[in-house]
């Protein structure tokens, strides 16, 4: 089953500044949870190495990321696909930006799908683990952008 996440926050930056940050792999990628390193293929493709660990399945996943939508300064969307022992992971993360009173409102949506033995072994742990990791990403993103706490946070599956 896909795990879906969404939420929104505001930062004291212009939409253009937020957009440029989000679409710059060298700034965005290190915010990914358990980030170990990256290599950039071209302006819209990069591969990040992240640590993955659920129960006894531990390893490094190579996640190939692609910036699939880029509409400056309104929207950016990434798609990613990676493999790790016991499974494959695919994810989509989109960011819609709109001017707000004190900067930019960022509305984000994400969907992660895990395939393979990992789903069976991790079972019900996958969703809370996913929430935890995503929270880290959003927290890191906000801190990097404006050091502001998110206004709201919703998650659903």
């Amino acid at each position: 089953m896909p795990i879906r996440f969404n939420g929104e926050f505001e930062v004291k930056r212009t939409p253009e500044e937020v957009y440029d940050f989000l679409t710059d792999p060298s700034k965005f990628a290190p915010l990914l949870p358990e980030y170990q390193g990256m290599s950039v293929q071209d302006p819209t493709h990069f591969t990040v190495k992240v640590n993955v660990g659920v129960s006894y399945i531990k390893g490094v996943a190579d996640v190939k990321m692609e910036l699939t939508q880029s509409d400056r300064p309104k929207r950016a969307e990434y798609k990613g696909q990676g493999s790790v022992a016991g499974g494959n992971v695919s994810l989509v993360a989109g960011f819609d930006l709109a001017p707000a009173t004190e900067g930019t409102k960022v509305v984000w949506q994400g969907e992660a799908q895990v395939f393979g033995r990992l789903t069976s072994v991790a079972g019900g742990l996958l969703e809370p683990l996913g929430r935890k990791q995503l929270q880290k990403l959003i927290d890191g993103l906000q801190a990097a952008l404006a050091n502001q706490a998110p206004k709201t946070q919703e998650m659903s599956t």
Partner: protein, 817 residues
């Protein structure tokens, strides 16, 4: 001279096999270690449905200790797709043992890594890079039939087979009915078998003689070699399969031939070194084989004023997983028990089978019949509740009557013998029916839910492979046969070889009992060879252990071979003892087993006879040169090819029956269904060996209880199997088993020489019985048991959150009278 003087068949002889198995001297496939042996590990798909866009094995091949890798595109150049049993368009499906360009279920092998050790093979498999492009998966058979996402483009449809089985005058029966019960949907869940020993294969493609050698635990080798020969382009006589002790199969190990193919190809690539593959438990759960899942739609049942069922009309959809393999035989095998144990003559079943993005199915204890029998038992219980007829009375009104045997079913099968009312009487007595009925009422007053359920079922044995022509008129199979060999070796030992490959069914013991009776000696004086070997030359194209048949086909072959040996021994002894054949008697003397002339008292022991034929043959007169004391016999079942258009004919030789009763309480706080009492009554005709029969009854009962309450192959919406370990798929163990009260009757079969009927699968009686008991406990709550799998979670969802089993949404009664 003394003989036993009475029959060994029917005696509770201790199993000959125990002597080695209980002392740890069994020889299983993984015990075999060979010089220069390599190890194979599969790389498997994490996706249920995806295109393979890239496979890179270079990193694996660079790992020290890795000898070679194999991928689908590589082997495609050297092999043919496996034979498909289905007619076109499903017959166009191309099934290879490694995925070629797309994967169709999670766990499908994509590549293989061959290495010096199993650990290196594991590490090498981790280094194989595979890129996929995910496709829409289909995990529901009804959805699959819409062809919204096609699994096999070459077939162009997900439908494997469809056929209508119609008998009698269904329309007239519904016009005449007093009551019509409509049941929207019932569902038989997917579960598997969990043998202690997983699949194990050692394969060697020997370049010296271009023969392929297998040491493995496949349970239907003669079927496997037919598939492998065509697939590998190797003459079938150049494929040797040897099995020894097997730690359970339950049918699931029949379909290991794709992995056998990969081991042979890997050996060829590795220069002829033997290749061992030992399946892990997770591999077994995700990708060996599962039992068939089946959905029953739009069922209509016509009944007369007394609750006698006069007609059934229904639409059945079977889910065979990603590749048909042994299917679509399951589309017709259920019709061996078309009316179950009931007397209705009018019926129409529209049967379809579809592929889905799940593990391929394979024969699984009770194969294809149990789904149908569960359906019939649900129909009977739902109708009984609708018409307020007690479940035992409902059955007595509908059972085939004892005096009607041999009974011809509407589709031409001949039930050999049986006495279902008697079995019900015995079961009710053993469980204390009236007492439990009273306690059930008392419990109800206390707010406790107790249900009492009956399951009556059949175990059809020795099938007619001509039924394959009903699903594919071009299929080259019909009848059934089994081979055996009985000989005196050079030193006079009686040695028996059979074409079966037992996995705990006691074939060595029962074969010895049969031969002991023929030769009038003790079974301990008879050696029965363990396991299966194609080079023993006693197999036919049907040889293996499956479909409840050894007591009939196997032992008939053994009996025939022993009779041939006996005739030769008698003829030879008459010459040596200078008397007539009629004067010869068989028995045991001071020098072991012997033949004696009654008139003179002169005798010759087995060594003496064997010596003449084997090493002293110059003394033989020419007219006795044909005597070999090495007698092969092929037994053939007296079947005809069924009528393919009418789908009519005898499909099975014997029909063992089972009647179980369960008393179950649903715990009020936890919703855990607890078995309070359980009875199993069995009728397999003449019993060859009572403890072996009783053991198989317990085994089948355990298997069925596990399936009903604990074991369920769960997939999520994208085809991830969520129950791939024993943490989530919980097999039944002794700790979960209730005490089972056992009873039996014997109605000898007129269709076998001994009166025995094949048994061991048990008709999955506990699944029917437990569903019936839960139905009984919950009907007052407006709940229908519409699924064969029920646990605390599903009962909670029925009783509290009211998500499933809603009576008003499932059942509708029409009163026409």
């Amino acid at each position: 001279m003394s003989g036993n003087g009475s029959s060994w068949v029917g005696k509770p002889l201790a199993r000959k096999e125990e002597n080695r198995l209980l002392r740890g001297r069994g020889r299983f496939a993984d015990d075999i270690k060979m010089r220069e042996m390599l190890y194979l590990r599969f790389v498997r798909s994490p996706y249920a449905h995806a295109k393979i866009t890239r496979i890179d094995t270079s990193a694996a091949e660079a790992l020290p200790g890795v000898i070679a890798t194999l991928t689908g595109p590589e082997i495609e150049k050297h092999v043919q797709p496996f034979i498909e049993i289905a007619p076109d368009p499903a017959g166009k499906i191309k099934d290879y043992p490694l995925a070629i360009s797309k994967v169709r279920y999670q766990g499908e092998p994509v590549a293989a890594v061959i290495a010096e050790t199993a650990a290196i093979a594991d590490d090498g498999a981790e280094l194989v890079e595979v890129e996929y492009e995910a496709l829409d998966p289909v995990v529901d058979a009804e959805q699959a039939l819409t062809d919204s996402s096609i699994l096999h483009e070459e077939a162009g449809t997900n439908k494997i087979w469809n056929g209508v089985f119609e008998y009698g005058d269904v329309e007239q029966a519904f016009r005449d009915a007093t009551y019509v019960v409509n049941i929207d949907k019932l569902h038989f869940h997917r579960f598997s078998s969990t043998p202690l020993e997983n699949n194990v294969i050692i394969g060697q493609w020997d370049p010296k003689d271009e023969h392929i050698y297998y040491w493995c635990n496949n349970s239907f080798p003669s079927f496997a070699i037919q598939f492998l020969s065509a697939h590998l382009n190797v003459h079938i006589d150049r494929i040797r399969v040897v099995t020894a002790d097997i730690g359970g199969s339950f049918g699931i190990k029949i379909t290991s031939y794709p992995q056998m193919a990969v081991c042979a190809l890997a050996s060829k690539k590795a220069g002829g070194r033997p290749i061992k593959w030992v399946e892990t438990r997770s591999e077994h759960m995700t990708s060996s084989a599962h039992g068939n899942e089946r959905t029953f739609r739009d069922t209509k049942v016509a009944l007369d004023k007394d609750g006698v069922i006069t007609a059934i009309s229904s639409r059945h959809i079977d889910d065979c997983g990603a590749y048909p393999r042994y299917e679509p035989l399951g589309c017709v095998i259920w019709s061996q028990v078309f009316p179950g144990v009931y007397r209705f003559k009018n019926a129409r079943i529209d049967f379809s089978q579809a592929v889905t993005n799940k593990c391929p199915v394979g024969p699984n204890r009770g194969y294809s019949r149990m789904q149908h029998l569960w359906f019939l038992e649900r129909v009977v219980d739902i109708c009984a509740h609708e018409l307020d007829i007690p479940s035992d009375q409902m059955r007595l009104r509908n059972y085939i009557r004892t005096e009607e045997f041999p009974y011809t079913t509407p589709n031409g099968c001949v039930y050999d013998s049986g006495n279902y009312p008697k079995m019900l009487e015995i079961a009710k007595g053993l469980i204390g029916w009236e007492s439990w009925k009273q306690r059930q009422q008392e419990a109800l007053q206390q707010g406790r839910r107790i249900g009492i359920g009956i399951g009556t079922t059949l175990d059809s044995g020795t099938n007619n492979f001509g039924q394959s022509q009903i699903v594919n008129p071009g299929a080259p199979f019909s009848g059934n046969s089994q081979g055996a060999n009985c000989k005196l070796d050079i030193y006079g030992e009686v040695v028996v070889a059979v074409g079966s490959c037992p996995q705990g069914q006691g074939h060595e013991t029962t074969a010895a009992q049969v031969v002991a009776d023929v030769l009038n000696i003790h079974p301990d004086m008879i050696s029965v060879r363990t396991g299966f070997d194609t080079e023993r030359n006693v197999h036919t194209g049907f040889s293996g252990t499956y479909a409840s048949q050894f007591a009939v086909s196997g032992l008939s072959a053994v009996h025939g071979a022993a009779q041939k040996l006996k005739a030769e021994m008698k003829r030879l002894a008459a010459l040596v003892l200078e008397t007539t054949e009629d004067d010869i008697e068989f028995g045991t003397g001071t020098q072991g087993p012997e033949l004696k002339a009654r008139s003179t008292g002169k005798s010759i022991n087995y060594w003496g006879l064997a010596n003449i034929v084997n090493v002293n043959s110059a003394v033989l007169p020419p007219e006795l040169h044909e005597i070999t004391l090495n007698c092969r016999y092929i037994w053939r079942a007296p079947f005809k090819v069924p009528d393919k258009v009418k789908k009519y004919g005898s499909l099975t030789l014997t029909y063992a029956s089972q009647l179980h009763i369960a008393v179950i309480e649903i715990e009020p706080d936890t919703f855990i269904p607890r078995i309070l009492d359980y009875v199993a009554v069995d009728d397999c005709g003449t019993v060859i060996n009572p403890p072996i029969v009783e053991g198989q009854v317990y085994g089948a009962t355990a298997h069925g209880i596990g399936a009903a309450l604990m074991e369920n192959c769960v997939y999520d919406a994208v085809g991830n199997m969520l129950t791939s370990t024993f943490s989530d798929y919980i097999p039944i163990t002794a700790a979960n088993m209730p005490k089972v009260k056992y009873g039996h009757i014997q109605t000898p079969s007129p269709h076998s020489y001994s009166g025995a009927k094949g048994m061991g699968e048990g008709g999955a009686a506990p699944i029917h019985t437990i569903s019936a008991a839960l139905q009984d406990a919950l009907f007052a709550d407006g709940i229908i048991i519409d699924d064969s799998f029920n646990n605390a979670d599903s009962l909670f969802r029925a009783l509290v959150s009211k998500e499933v089993g809603r009576y008003s949404e499932i059942v509708r009664l029409e009163r026409r009278g």
